[in-house]
Amino acid sequence: MIEVSHLYKSFEDKEVLHDINAVFENGKTNLIIGQSGSGKTVLLNNIVGLLDPTSGNIFYDHVDFCALSKRDKILLRRKMGMLFQSAALFDSMTVLENVMFPLNMFSTDTYIDREKRAKECIGRVNLSGAENKLPSEISGGMQKRAAIARAIALNPKYLFCDEPNSGLDPKTSIVIDELIHGITTELNITTIVNTHDMNSVMGIGDKIVFICEGRAEWQGTSADIMNSDNKRLNDFIFASDILRKYKEAEDEEAAKHHH
């Protein structure tokens, strides 16, 4: 479980996050949604400790992350897996070497076992066959998938994904969403995903935090989201025509039943 409490973050005098409070539970896929530039990446980077909050606390299973010593932070981080918005693969290594890297660094298994595990992860993201390619030789979406494979190689306890399916086609997006969701329930880990993809929201969102202009504007489940009367949330999710029509049809239906 990860808990964010009264989190503020400013860059110089520009306030990006304002009093964020949220609880992300185990075994659930927690989504942070919001417009581009609303502060999702900054929030995630604060949670994992790449940025230091201006004020506020982050608790990992009730342990205050910001108060940990450098050494303890490093130990806690070995239980984290993270997918960056820009994939951040090591560009001097092949896909297989990238996925094997955390295993080589921290696992005590034999080489054969480590390679087997890496190949298994690569298979789960449908990248089998691209093992020996360099990141510069594969597409942006493939890089993302390779980065997911790297993030899950060590079976993390906390998984963070910054826009896992931006740049992916709808079909692959669903595969990735299902993969993230599957791992989360299977291993009972705490997963936080940044996204602005409504398909993911409806598909795998167990808990959703909506960020608007640096404030946690709305929180709830994917079942609640369609029926919320928060104006800003509705503006965000019904920006697409299809969903708006779907909602209108649903409302009409409800009205008919009412009569």
């Binding site: 994992v48 790449l50 960056f84 951040a88 693969l89 090591f90 955390p102 660094m105 921290f106």
Partner: protein, 248 residues
């Protein structure tokens, strides 16, 4: 006042980074792999430039001395003797490292800078890897291992360059050989080795610092690699005066 404060903070941050760098690697196996790779990349790939530059400088020094200093009442071996001393004491150690600061320093700073702005260093940190130790230590130790070898090669290449001038009918090979051998003090060779190791540390650690701490984008990476070369060159020159004073 402001620049003083800025440079003091910079020194503080450099020392802090070195503190994180100079610790025992988490995985020795991974460290050795990187160490060998860096020796190859930073050292082996510099052998060509070292040999070429030293060869020509050795030849030119020999010619210049012959033309400007040599006179009938001076022993013929003075040319060889002076060439050896210049190569050994200054050129092959200090000037060669100054040249390598340009090649190796910009290489290190731009590599680490690019890793920083593409979040590869963040990715290492998130995995719980000590990124400074993993990335920088192999570079520092690799360059410190290979630099004395490069300096030795430079001395020999310079001597071959000097020999090559004998075909132009200036000094003969035997006169040069006599000069090269004349009152050889092995301690001067070790001075060159000590300087090489110190300069290797300066180049690799300063450039790593500049690259590792880049913030921004490709322009900042460019700035950091220029900065790395300028700063390490200036520091090498200071260290040269200092080391020459205490070693000889």
């Amino acid at each position: 006042m402001l620049t003083l404060k800025k440079s003091l903070t910079e020194i503080g941050r450099y020392v802090q980074l070195m503190g994180r760098t100079l610790s025992r690697p988490d995985r020795m196996r991974m460290f050795y792999k990187e160490y060998v790779k860096e020796m190859y990349q930073l050292g082996y790939n510099s052998i060509g430039i070292v040999l070429i530059i030293s060869f020509f400088i050795g030849a030119v020094i020999c010619l210049q001395i012959k033309l400007n200093i040599q006179s009938p009442w001076m022993p013929r071996m003075v040319t060889g003797y002076t060439t050896r001393e210049i190569m050994l004491l200054e050129f092959s150690s200090s000037i060669m490292c100054l040249i390598l600061a340009g090649k190796v320093g910009s290489n290190i700073a731009s590599e680490l800078g690019t890793m920083r702005i593409t979040q590869q260093i963040d990715a290492l940190d998130i995995m719980g890897v000590n990124s400074a130790n993993y990335l920088i230590l192999p570079k520092i130790l690799g360059l410190m291992t290979i630099m004395p070898i490069l300096v030795t090669l430079s001395v020999f290449s310079g001597m071959i360059g000097a020999y090559s001038t004998s075909f132009m009918g200036t000094t003969t090979i035997s006169e040069l050989t006599e000069g090269f051998r004349y009152s050889f003090n092995p301690w001067f060779f070790w001075c060159g080795m000590i300087k090489a190791v110190v300069y290797a540390f300066i180049i690799s650690s300063v450039s790593s610092y500049k690259g590792y701490t880049v913030e921004g984008g490709s322009i900042e990476v460019g700035v950091s690699s220029t900065d790395a070369v300028v700063t390490s060159s200036v520091l090498i020159l200071f260290a040269d005066i200092f080391l020459t004073q205490i070693l000889t």
